[in-house]
Subunit: 282 residues, 4 copies
């Protein structure tokens, strides 16, 4: 694979960012950072047009491994990315623990979760988490479903999860909590059909993520790097909240949270670090 394309994994921003966030990011970059030369380890600016499929799927595989390594998923949990050339399709692994995912395990589904290539392999029972959010959130390019223990706990204790620090800025004034019992009564807690996926997407609204009572959580993003970064900082922020042990936490004011989120971009420094960590273990 062409190294430049590989390093662009996740950075195909031209095709992804909406106009306004691009302007905001540009303004911040101008205000805070020097112009950069191009050493090997810093990702190149996005190439024109959408990211090529091979490097996108390589990033999706890497994202699966990162999520396991960072404690966001275990045997359960998943990550997907919208097809940059067809917004009605998305890529996700077949039914498999994320840490075991390889490129040949990736399938392409449409928004009814039908495999577009006639692939008949078993799929995640909760694929509708992804399809139904992609359906109503054109800005979302990638979704992570998390089973991190502290994230699970935060969905059950009726306390808002507010940003304890700037890396959690995207949490804003808190994430919505989806409680499947409200619309569906007693279930096995799984988002295992379209109507449950739609209900979750409705609770998510325009937020960067949601907690799922008795289950876990989700984060969405402009790119794989973005949804993965958010899922890790959601987990860390949940850990901090619980470490405070019930004390009053001076969390970020809403305006601070918003400014901090813009300052974090899509967590590129983390992506490089986390990717290197999982490559070293294979």
């Amino acid at each position: 694979m062409n190294r430049k394309n590989f390093l662009n994994a996740g950075f195909g921003r031209r095709g992804f960012l909406s106009g306004s966030s691009l302007l905001l990011t540009g303004a911040l970059l101008g205000a805070t950072e020097k112009s950069e030369a191009k050493p090997a380890e810093v990702p190149d600016p996005p190439a024109d047009g959408p990211q090529d499929k091979e490097s996108l799927l390589a990033d999706l595989v890497t994202a699966n491994h990162i999520l396991q390594d960072q404690g966001v998923v275990d045997g359960y949990g998943h990550v997907s990315v919208r097809n940059p050339t067809n917004p009605n399709h998305f890529y996700i692994s077949r039914w498999l623990a994320p840490d075991l995912v390889t490129p040949s395990d990736i399938v392409e589904l449409d928004l009814d979760c039908v495999s577009v290539n006639g692939d008949t392999r078993k799929l995640y029972s909760e694929r509708w988490i992804h399809s139904e959010i992609y359906r109503v959130r054109p800005d979302v390019k990638s979704i992570v479903h998390s089973h991190a223990p502290t994230v699970v706990v935060m969905g059950t204790i009726n306390e808002p999860l507010l940003p304890v620090y700037h890396m959690g800025g995207f949490l804003g004034t808190g994430l919505p909590v989806f409680d499947i019992r409200k619309s569906f009564g007693m279930t096995n807690m799984l988002i295992n059909d379209a109507s449950k996926g739609k209900a979750l997407a409705q609770t998510l609204g325009d937020k960067p993520g949601a907690l799922m009572r008795g289950h876990g959580g989700i984060t969405v993003g402009n790119s794989i790097m973005h949804s993965v970064g958010r899922s890790v900082y959601l987990k860390i922020n949940a850990e901090m909240h619980l470490q405070a042990g019930g004390r009053k936490i001076e969390t970020l004011a809403p305006e601070e949270a918003k400014l901090a989120e813009a300052g974090n971009q899509e967590f590129p420094k983390d992506w490089d670090l986390w990717k290197r960590a999982v490559l070293a273990k294979r």
Copy 2:
């Protein structure tokens, strides 16, 4: 070893599951998942008849290593499996830390904990945990004895351990707590003879597991994969309970727990993941 048999380790369901749970599992499978092709990494459907001995013992050895790797046991704790061809026998390691177990360490005992092959090697002092549960629970095919710290704590603080999330569904309305002092007065806390094993089995009743005050816990299952999966999720659920730090937790309703349990099957995705992790370290 034949790869198909190896992958069937733990999936010899035909010989194991009772009729009603097989029906329930079948109904859920029909409702939630697509038909599957047969890629290498997903376990094949169970072969006819019981699993062959060689692969069963390989799984038992792997289970020992998984339990150490997942923090369920340390120098102490053990796992056993009933002999599929003779329900009055079971396999367990000789006296050894689980992480050190190899196939040559496995012994076969009858329900009086007598070695059936004249093996004279030292055995676990608490082998009666296993024999006495196998004696009264024909549905149980595998047992894990856990020393996970959070599980120990949950047996001492007089709070029910309810499912915080769907992976703990099998916890239902809570596990019974065995307090050895009630029947035996002051002891060294060990289940080191048949009468103590019988008392523990009585407390266990028809439940999927029990806590042991001042000691640890046990989980039982339809297969090695099942008892091991339950022991890990028992530990994770206990951690979540304690992380909530005394706050009220919105745990799963009894009906949700029951449905969630059925939805989890016997944790096959975890088994593949955990097995790969321990193989990578040897």
Copy 3:
């Protein structure tokens, strides 16, 4: 090194255990366990006479690494063993982080902490922890000084650390807490001379260990394996106490604790496991 002697490391009990605990151990062994054959991995019965020096020092080096690996020490903390052929001498590493210790780093000191071989290398500033306890406790053959965080915390919150489970049985009705300020006023908290060592030994009394306010803790034992095992279970028990978050814990009754302690012997299963773990990392 002769494998049999190596495996006897820590098991030179004939020279170590007092008569009464030997009887008690024998009675328990008779009651609970089958006679053992001699597979390679289970330690042989103690050889006659004291353990040879080479294998003893190898065990001391291993103990240093185990203590780091198990989180009992970090850059600080140490372990020593009494010279089995001269009770007025003991072996300890020179001033070095425990994980870096090799056989050539071991020095032999007398009870005034003078090097017996004219070795002039820098020593631990707190070597008097060891010398002064050996001076007044002829039963003690090995001492560990711990900096485990949860052990440090337990020395500062004015709550007795009672056995939460049977592996902490040796904690009995709690460990004494040494507060250096009581006898020495304001200091740098270090046991850096004989008088402070004597004060600590006095607080220790005939107990298996002591906490040191604002500092850490110590455990003593009949052998390296025993003091090391106690230091790890002290740490685990402290963790459990803190995980319970202030709730009332149903701890072991004094009689249960005593019986449990006898049942644990000197933690041989753990030693084998922990040793294998550190050998695998070198």
Copy 4:
């Protein structure tokens, strides 16, 4: 590189320590320790004159890796060292996750954060944390910016972080908390210009470190080894504070803290241990 210079990394004390702390350290050394021979693993006494640049930058790279390994930083956070031959310059990595830093990534900046070599590579947006502290603290030779979760929490719960044990002695009567909102209103929480750096330096005063509300913390020191050691023990001390779960902690008296700090020197035993750990992973 000359091994002696390499081991002196961080020990160029002659050029670094102020007169009074040198006297105090000398007095303590005389009182507590034997004279040392010169085995390979114990750092040599400082060479005359400042440390050579090559070994200094090697230590700075190692410090970056240690900080990741010890959980003080993750994708974010940084460490710098003042140029011993020009106090108006300092060395720091370019914009990169600390664990990825290599010698070629180090840049040299002046106190206005201008690169002195015309290097145009992207820099940390928070480099003014370093420049503005070096500007007003001539005693400070190295600075660490930490994102350790427990340190973040301690900056938000309005409780002083006092030394729980002697290794936290430098915390004295507590660290100041910098709240950016007080002087700058709503921001993205980053110290991303000179005025914010000056405000942080003012809050720091003459202390060994400061917490930053909603952000993390900083530690300063006489050398890389010193600032790094303090950052790790700040983290551990914060963990202990939170593990105590709101209970009253018998922390070190101010006099004990001062004496303990002097007794710890600059954490040389830790540096050797932590360095060896990161070298083993590369």
